[in-house]
Amino acid sequence: MALAALARRAGAIGSLVVLVVAWEAAARSGVVTPFLLPPLSVVLARVGEDAMSGELAINLGLTLYRALTGFAIAAVAGVALGILMTRRPLVRWFFDPIVSVGFPMPKIAFLPVFMLWLGLYDFSKISMAVFNAIFPVITATMAAAEGVDRQLVWSARSLGASERQLLREIILPAALPQILTGLQVALPISMIVMIVTEMLMGGQGLGGAMIAASRFADSPGVFAGIIEIALAGLCLVKAMTMLRRKLLRWHQEAQEPTTV
């Protein structure tokens, strides 16, 4: 039944619907001032205005460009470093303690240092995203590459694979599910870090626009930024999940329904 399916769909996002209705009702009830909480309808109208004026495209485009560039660099460098650390004892000796200290640390604390050394522009902002997003990629890649079933490697060798072919043909594909999990952690991190970095470094971009709106006491502008960031983040995470499903078509999980 199409109706039942529709009801199930609506049920799945029921909590969001409740939240949205509560927002609108609270804002219109007069309990809070529109300055503290502008009605959702006003905020959405503002998102629409931003979209029409082209401001949204510029800010969103800049934020996505920086966050995704940082994410891509972190992904490539993190996988490469993770693999190297499992294969070269010297590389491991050098980076292992650094990763152990750096992974749990709030790296956003380095922001003033990045501003001081690298300035306030794209290079500095993207570097900040790379610095934050690379750690989960490194640790996931290391764990994945070390956890590859040795009998897969043995099978490949006895089927005629050379030591050199193992990395690309066996280790990387076998480690892919866990590496993708690391990337799925790194993607929202680079997005979060980019917003915060833009807020603190200023300039254009969603984070910068929100801080500017806040300085002008423009509440609808601030809340519009939150909605825009939430939607952009949701789309990115969904895209990543789709990519995972496409890449892991062979995996058992791809044959079962997933929630995220």
Binding site: Q151, S155, A156, R157, L159, A174
Partner: protein
């Protein structure tokens, strides 16, 4: 028949040295030779080192004490002359059945059409026609093992190393697979080393059974069987039943000892 033995294992010992704890002697001074085209079973209780011996012949573990010769040459690492089938299949899960079978063929100097032809031929041989494009996660245990056997047979290794290949299968599938393996061996006449802890399986399949002691693994006795493998009532003949009894008595003492020492 005066050919030198195909595989010669001479005074091989092997020690595992875990990162923490004392080293464990898995094999103690094992000598054994396997004739060309012979079907040899390595039989023993869990933890007796029979798989270790197989991995040494496969070249997956380094031979540190003693030596192992294949065709009179010491082995240097794994190679396509010695194919292996593992208990848990070790199929590449990101490849379909036919891609798995093609993997070894791609390492050989064959034309594309020839590779595809051979892959299809071996998939058909193990009864997986129609499942070429399935991923391993979509197959049952028995089908996975068939795919793994096809992958190994496709590269036409002279030696087939089998590490409890039917141990993970249910009883019906196991006995079907045993009969099929026997048929394949009779047709292709490869040298087979078959590791198992199943006495019946060893007596049914092998021409010679090397019974191993509990850890540290030694060869306790070698039992020769000369059965007519084509006899459909083979497993009910007195000779067969007596051999199973004899081998079982040899293994039982070792299994009890292995259990006491906590190796089972």
């Amino acid at each position: 028949m005066s050919d030198p033995a195909h595989i010669v294992i001479e005074r091989v010992s092997h020690e595992y040295r875990p990162a923490r704890g004392r080293p464990v002697l898995a094999l103690d001074n094992v000598s054994l030779s396997v004739q060309d085209r012979e079907f040899l079973a390595l039989l023993g209780p869990s933890g007796c080192g029979k798989s270790t011996l197989l991995y040494l012949v496969g070249g997956f573990l380094p031979v540190e004490q003693g030596r192992i010769l294949v065709d009179e040459r010491p082995i240097a690492g794994p190679g396509p002359d010695r194919g292996i089938v593992f208990q848990h299949f070790a199929l590449f899960p990101w490849k379909t059945v036919i891609q798995n079978v093609l993997y070894g063929l791609e390492k050989q100097d064959l034309a594309r059409e020839e590779r595809l032809r051979r892959a299809r031929q071996f998939i058909e041989l193990v009864g997986l026609a129609g499942f070429e494009d399935s991923y391993p996660s979509q197959l049952s245990g028995g089908m996975k093992q068939r795919a793994a056997i096809a992958r190994t047979l496709a590269i036409d290794p002279r030696v087939l190393l089998m590490d409890e290949p039917f141990g993970a299968l249910d009883a019906q599938t196991r006995s079907l697979m045993q009969a099929e393996l026997l048929g394949i061996w009779q047709r292709s006449r490869k040298t087979v080393i078959f590791v198992t802890h199943d006495v019946h399986e060893a007596v049914f399949l092998a021409e010679r059974i090397a019974v191993m002691s509990a850890r540290p693994g030694r060869i306790k006795e070698i039992v020769e069987t000369h059965f007519d493998k084509d006899d459909p009532d083979l497993t009910r003949t007195r000779e067969f039943v007596e051999t199973v009894d004899h081998v079982w008595n040899l293994v039982r003492a070792e299994a009890i000892q292995a259990q006491r020492s906590g190796a089972a």
